[in-house]
Symmetry: C2
Subunit: 322 residues, 2 copies
């Protein structure tokens, strides 16, 4: 019987993961706890909820003392917000992660060899910055062009060195842009990739701030939860000395996204997308990765959707309420 | 008339740089200050010496307030020591660098647009970890296999994001292993690369802890000072969005190093090298880079020696006292 702790368990991916672990436990009897600033009010909680912030060392110490076998770390100030609020981004995305690592390492040392958690950290394809090769391979370098990407890349390096030194098991999972996000738009610069599908399906107008030739890398929320569950099942040796992986996904243009929406849901729905160029969003998105060859992750059994139609179908099946 | 400040100015590279700036000022009237824990006692100081440590925020604040136009940051716990003393490595190589960046950024903000220093940071080829391509190119990724390498890679990312946001100009210079280091052996795992040349030339036995088939990437102390001077002369736009560069150097095996020593200085000298395998050193060195294609740095005019004979000649010219 293991304890699984999800920092950021109140967020969209955290909730998908918690639901997945509730429906299909990794091992019989696994107990899941979620920690976040707040939790969604709709429906019954699927796991124990702890209200707290990773920026408070007392919260981290209290939870480290419970010695969870698996720790998911999903907390982040999203890309657009970290770009606007430079101090907040560094404080949460780097300083709090450093504090998390230090406090869990202290618990590991105090345990005298009886405690070694598996830490699964959600990184992002934002660790890569333009110019890119046609497809980004597993040994293309980090040259992030956002603070969010720099913070994710640094956090990966910090976690990896602690894994190398034997304090933790674990891996950094570089998520594609998660699409179609349910609920409301957020401050991620990538928010519109979901908005142009979700809003029209719900009868609302959606703003498209970039050219429809923009190509990007997507996976569904269901895939994101799947990546995180699968990562927990692999033996540490599977990652060799490089426990940071680009996840599989779907590479497509905005025009292809819109065409898939039109084919599946009709021209009337697709007509609710209104182009309104936003230079701030364009400046961020033009430096984002467009396509990947995620050979290592694929060989390790991580899977995502095959095309954008499938991504829309996952939204209709899992989240659409119409 | 500019102020140039060198953190780590008492170290070997810092002293070479200070001497170079004294002999050949970048601009007429440049004033150089050095900050370090201690300074060599031999000879007259070539620049103003400030005793202090970057782990003391008061020292950083006092020096930031002098608003030096060019800041060299050369401080580090070396690779072997950072591997043995995990906490000290993270404290000096990451936490103090973060503090340095934060304090200089605060000075920049306080200046209301009148102060923007150029920060030149000495990174290392230790940011790369095996397995490698035959030659490491300019877009090969960071997968450091030492804490020192992880700390350098993270510091690069931190500096680069601050440059991108307009707080500083600057660049990270990834030094090859500096060879032949004068003076005494240090705790760097790479120390023997210099020791096997320096000690025999000075009549002493030298220990070779690795196989003579070990291939590595070298440049002289004179080249290191040259890289750092040249970096200060380039316009920021030269670095484009990627202000972190692999420097040129000489790729050769230990056997080739020894053969060059034998040819130039005689079999009797080369015979003073005694193989004595050290598994700890071997474990670190086997994950180190062997060869590079430093295309970007070469195009920007950075230059190093052409072969290892030339590296030995630089030692004989600049540092040998026999």
């Amino acid at each position: 019987m293991r304890n699984i702790l999800i920092f950021g368990g109140g967020g969209m991916v955290g909730q998908k993961l918690a639901n997945s672990l509730a429906d299909n436990p990794l091992q019989p009897g696994d107990r899941v706890k979620l920690c976040d600033l707040a939790f969604p009010q709709n429906g019954a909680p699927v796991a124990e909820q702890i209200v707290g912030t990773v920026t408070n060392p007392a919260v981290l110490k209290r939870l480290a003392a419970t010695r969870p076998e698996i720790v998911y770390y999903l907390v982040a100030i999203v890309s657009g917000e970290a770009e606007e609020n430079f101090d907040l981004g560094w404080q949460v995305n780097m300083a709090a992660f450093q504090s998390f690592i230090d406090i869990f390492r202290a618990e590991v040392i105090a345990s005298q060899g009886t405690y070694k958690p598996k830490i699964i950290f959600t990184s992002s394809i934002a660790v890569f910055g333009a110019p890119f090769p046609e497809k980004i391979g597993d040994t293309f370098f980090h040259a992030p062009q956002t603070s969010y990407g720099a913070q994710k890349a640094m956090s990966e390096l910090l976690l990896t060195d602690h894994i190398r030194k034997g304090f933790f098991d674990g891996v950094s999972i570089r998520l594609p842009t998660i699409c179609v996000r349910p609920g409301k738009a957020n401050k991620a610069a990538s928010s519109f990739f979901s908005g142009i599908i979700r809003e029209p399906l719900n009868g609302h107008e959606a703003i498209l701030p970039v050219s429809d030739e923009t190509r990007h890398w997507h996976a569904s929320p269901r895939s994101a939860a799947g990546f995180l569950c699968h990562a927990a099942t692999l033996d540490q040796s599977a990652y060799e000395a490089r426990p940071a992986l680009n996840m599989p996904g779907v590479s497509c243009t905005v025009a292809e996204q819109i065409e898939a929406l039109r084919e599946m849901c009709g021209a009337e729905v697709a007509a609710r997308i209104r182009p309104e160029p936003d230079p701030r969003i364009q400046a961020i998105v033009k430096n984002w990765a467009r396509d990947f060859d995620p050979a290592r992750a694929t060989a390790l059994g991580f899977t995502a959707e095959k095309d954008f139609r499938e991504i829309i179908q996952v939204y209709l099946d899992d989240d659409f309420d119409g």
